[in-house]
Structures are given as structure tokens and as C-alpha cells.
Symmetry: C2
Subunit: 297 residues, 2 copies
């Protein structure tokens, strides 16, 4: 079951793309201390703590979101000199396709304050990434697969620098906190991914189900806000922590600070994720709505 003629020669495992998402930071530090954990025979495994200043400061970013800084035209714009703009250019010069050590695959480690369990993030519908998602899903049926493809997000992200990539998004975890259970689960999925790439290179992939559930980005929903841009409502208690559960027409969605319920005005069920993600208050996003698809590759 060889998927194409290209082997995976170099893999980059990234933590700290957001400096206050500590799961990836400490997992990458562990891999740096124990490189044998990520060593595989058929490819080179590299690690990167992507935003060192943000990690040190315990913040998502210093000047702007690093994971929104990789648009091709931004990387070529010499006038962009914010910390993260410079960092993105540097990462691209090292690991990008025209860089010093171009990488074939990136695993990018994130955490969220939303109750998204272990989610594999896909930025596009490349068959290679979908096949990997199917494999991970067959091994670990409890994980969720989310495609942000139609949001356009993929082009801005660090993962755009490799030929193929996945993100691993785990939660609910507060910013600035390591949760042992989700640390171990992330570690398991990283190893399963590396094993997959190894088997792929060796042309030894086992048979696995080509069918899985895919949550596709539909739209983002902002909080209700007043004329000063301040939020006037919270995620309704009825849906808090209920990422990936159906939100039906007329279901409670927000609760205003003075006690009024705002319901979902959509005409068909949607599946909200990133419900109450801390970093998205400033990005006009109370949740992302997705559609649930049964995929067969």
C-alpha cells in the first residue's frame, strides 16, 4: 500500500508554537533529553521549541501569533520585523522547502482550554494526511479528526512549511499548565505518528480501516459584544465543555451577564469546537462550528 513515491526523510516535532501551551513544550524538552524516544530507522527526527521568548514569558506570543505568521507573502516581506515575523522567517529558512534542512513532515503540538480531548488537526485534504488520520483513528478510536481546510487557516500556520503535517490539539488544559493525563495521551499519538511514517517508508503499512469521522470547519461564531467591543455574554452552561456534541436549532448558546439566554439560530445541527478557548476571545471567536462527515478515503 505505497501511497506515493516519496519517502519521508526528515520529521520536525514542534512544541511551544504558542508559548503558554506547555504540553508540547515539555514533551519536546523530553525528546531533546531522550532522542532515542523519537529515533526511527528510516528518517531523521528533529525537534523545535518554536517561540522561545513566548515560552520564557509564559505567553501565547510576544508581538503577534506565530501560528498566523507564515503566509508566503509575509515571509517575503522585509518590512515585517515583529518578533514573530522574524521568527517565522528564520524557521522557514531552516526547515522550509527551500531551507537548510527542509522537512517532509511536521507534528505541531498544541493545547486548548476547550474540552477537545485529543484532536488531530488537518490543514488540507491531502491524501497522505488523511491516510495518517485514518490510521491514528483506527488505533485510537477516541481521538477526533478536525479539518480546518476551508477556513484558510493552514496557509498562515507553521505547519505550512512542510510537505505534510498534522497538529495535535489537546484539552481542556488551562494556559500555563501541564496536565499529566493529556501529556501522556499526546505522547502516545506522537509515537503512533512516527511509527506510521516508519511503516510507510518501509512499505509495511498494515491494513486499517479507511473510514473515520471528520469534523470540517464551517464558520466561527463570536461572542455577543457591546458598542465598545466588550463581550456581553458567556458560553451557556448547557454547552460548556460539550465540544463535538450536536448543537441543534434553538439550543442555548450564550448566557448574557445579566442572565438572558441566547439560542442557536442555525437551521441545522452543527458541532461546535474550540468552545471557550481563552486565546480566541481576542480573535472574535467564541466557538468554531463544524460539520460531521463520515469519510472513506
Amino acid at each position: 500500500m505505497k501511497l506515493n513515491n516519496h519517502s519521508i526523510n526528515r520529521v520536525l516535532i514542534v512544541g511551544g508554537t504558542h508559548g503558554n501551551e506547555l504540553t508540547g513544550v515539555y514533551l519536546v524538552k523530553l525528546f531533546q533529553q531522550h532522542p532515542e524516544l523519537i529515533h526511527r530507522a528510516t528518517f531523521e527526527s528533529l525537534t523545535l521549541l518554536a517561540n522561545p521568548q513566548a515560552i520564557k514569558a509564559g505567553r501565547r506570543y510576544i508581538d503577534k501569533d506565530l501560528n498566523r505568521s507564515f503566509l508566503e507573502e509575509n515571509l517575503e516581506d522585509g518590512t515585517l520585523v515583529n518578533y514573530e515575523d522574524l521568527l517565522a522567517k528564520n524557521i522557514n529558512h531552516i526547515y522550509g522547502q527551500n531551507g537548510k534542512y527542509p522537512v517532509d513532515f511536521i507534528v505541531d503540538l498544541h493545547s486548548t482550554t476547550s474540552n477537545m480531548g485529543v484532536t488531530v488537526l488537518l490543514d488540507d485534504d491531502q491524501k497522505f494526511n488523511l491516510q495518517l488520520a485514518a490510521y491514528l483513528s483506527s488505533l485510537h478510536p477516541e481521538i477526533k479528526i478536525y479539518s480546518s481546510g476551508s477556513s484558510g487557516r493552514g496557509k498562515h500556520g507553521l505547519r505550512s512549511r512542510a510537505k505534510f503535517a498534522i497538529g495535535i490539539e489537546v484539552g481542556a488544559i488551562p494556559q500555563g499548565v501541564v496536565n499529566a493525563d493529556l501529556f501522556l495521551k499526546t505522547q502516545t499519538i506522537v509515537y503512533a505518528t512516527l511509527d506510521y511514517l516508519e511503516l510507510y517508508n518501509q512499505n509495511k503499512l498494515p491494513t486499517f480501516s479507511q473510514s473515520f469521522t471528520l469534523y470540517k470547519y464551517l464558520e466561527k461564531i463570536d461572542y455577543p459584544r457591546n458598542e465598545h467591543g466588550e463581550i456581553t455574554a458567556m458560553i451557556h452552561p448547557h454547552i460548556q465543555y460539550k465540544d463535538y456534541q450536536a448543537l441543534n436549532p434553538s439550543d442555548p448558546m450564550f448566557l448574557t451577564f445579566d442572565g438572558q439566554t441566547i439560542t442557536y439560530a442555525g437551521e441545522s445541527p452543527a458541532y461546535p469546537i474550540f468552545l471557550n478557548e481563552a486565546a480566541y476571545y481576542e480573535q472574535s471567536t467564541a466557538m468554531c462550528l463544524t460539520q460531521k462527515h463520515q469519510m472513506t478515503i
Copy 2:
């Protein structure tokens, strides 16, 4: 049942002592828009968003923790000119006992990433505060009462500026997030506190149980760290989210990043709280151990 001869004349409700603890921030904003909610006949209710710059930045503090900036000698030290040092002096000049509008009682609203439910924080063993705690506990048996008295923390805190005070600490909530359920529960305890002060002033306090469970500060426990001061372990999954539950000798306490379990070496049970509080990683605190006491006033 008059406890002393002094009435409560002025009450200050404080949110945003830590700028990324949004429960208090949005509750105080609500009270500022709807002062009728906190109006009571026998005293004046004031509100304060304590650290405006930190709230704007979405961070705990700008230069230093405001809630560690109220030590008497610091307030008198003209050379201390960090943002929070100046803020503390300003708050003291307005609301302190020699200030423009001295307050008799402070309710200080906090949130934590630890699973502490609704906790009433006491900084000392003044009978007035203990009586209030007993009242709140009799009305809402699910809340926890914690005394930080023996830690010395009270002297540094904003609440030290009033004659009497409580903190309300709710969790688990990530920094930078409002959780509707805990917002509503905090609101309920604020109203119950104001009602108590009103009944006290009117000498109309009902009979209530003078007995409650008090968790008293014992010691803080740091994370295991390497020679560079970096943490080498996480809160063990066995005790994560188990604030206020007995930690017995030899119980798992930490899990190192490379998979080793570290057990509790104490000789008698303790009750950990502030388990995995994000803000305490930099304060050398993985948890605070408490002792559980049955109090009868």
C-alpha cells in the same frame, strides 16, 4: 446576636486583582452597570477593577503580583515605583483605613485553574470573618472554607486594607476564560455575603449552625526541579483535580516527564488545594497542603 458594636458602613467588591481572572472582572462590570444588584439599605457598596492595565493586557499582573504588594512597609516605601507598587499605594490611599473612603469590608473575587469549586478565603481568625464563613457554609454546604492565616499571606494582600474581608476563589477555570456556571455561583455567594452584612447591621441575623469544616494552610509543596530550576514532573494524574481530597502517605503525588511516580512522603494525611494552579508555577508551588478542622465558633 450582635457580634460587636461596629456597623459595616462601606463595602468594596473587587474584581481583577489578577487581570486574567475574568469571573471577578465581568461580575464587577455587571455591578457597575446595575448598581441595584449590590445596593443594600444599611451600607454603601463600592466596586473596584483593581488592576486595569493587567485586565487590559489579559495578564495576572504587569510588573509584580498586586496581591503581594500591600505589606505596610511597602506601602510606605517611596522608592517602590513598579506599576503594581503604585497601584497598591493608590488603592490604600482611597480605601485604606486612613484613606479617603475607608472600607469596612472587602469581597475580593478570584479564580483558579485548580478544581477548588467555590472556596471562601479567610486571611485571619477574626471572629467576624469566621461567623460570616459559618453563615455562608450553612446556606451553601457545598462551598469550602480555607484559611491562609498561618501562611502570612494575608498581610501582603489587597484584602488587608479593610477591617474585615473574604476572598472568593472559584475553579477550575483557565486564565482568560469566563465559566458561566462558576460566574453564577460566585454571584450567589457575593449576594449572600451582602445579605449577611445587611442582617448584621440590622441586628437581625437568623440562627445558623456555628460549626463548619475549615481547611487550614499547612505548607506549600514545589514541583521537582532540575539544576536550572525547570520543573521535571507534573501533578500525578491520580490527584489532578482532587483538591480537598485526602492525600495519604505513599499516595502518588508527581509523575516525572520520563514516567517515574513520586509519592507523598508525609507521615499523616493532608488535604491539597491549589493543585496545578497556573500562576503558582513561578511561585514554587505545585500545591498547598492543608489540615482539615471541624470548627465550632
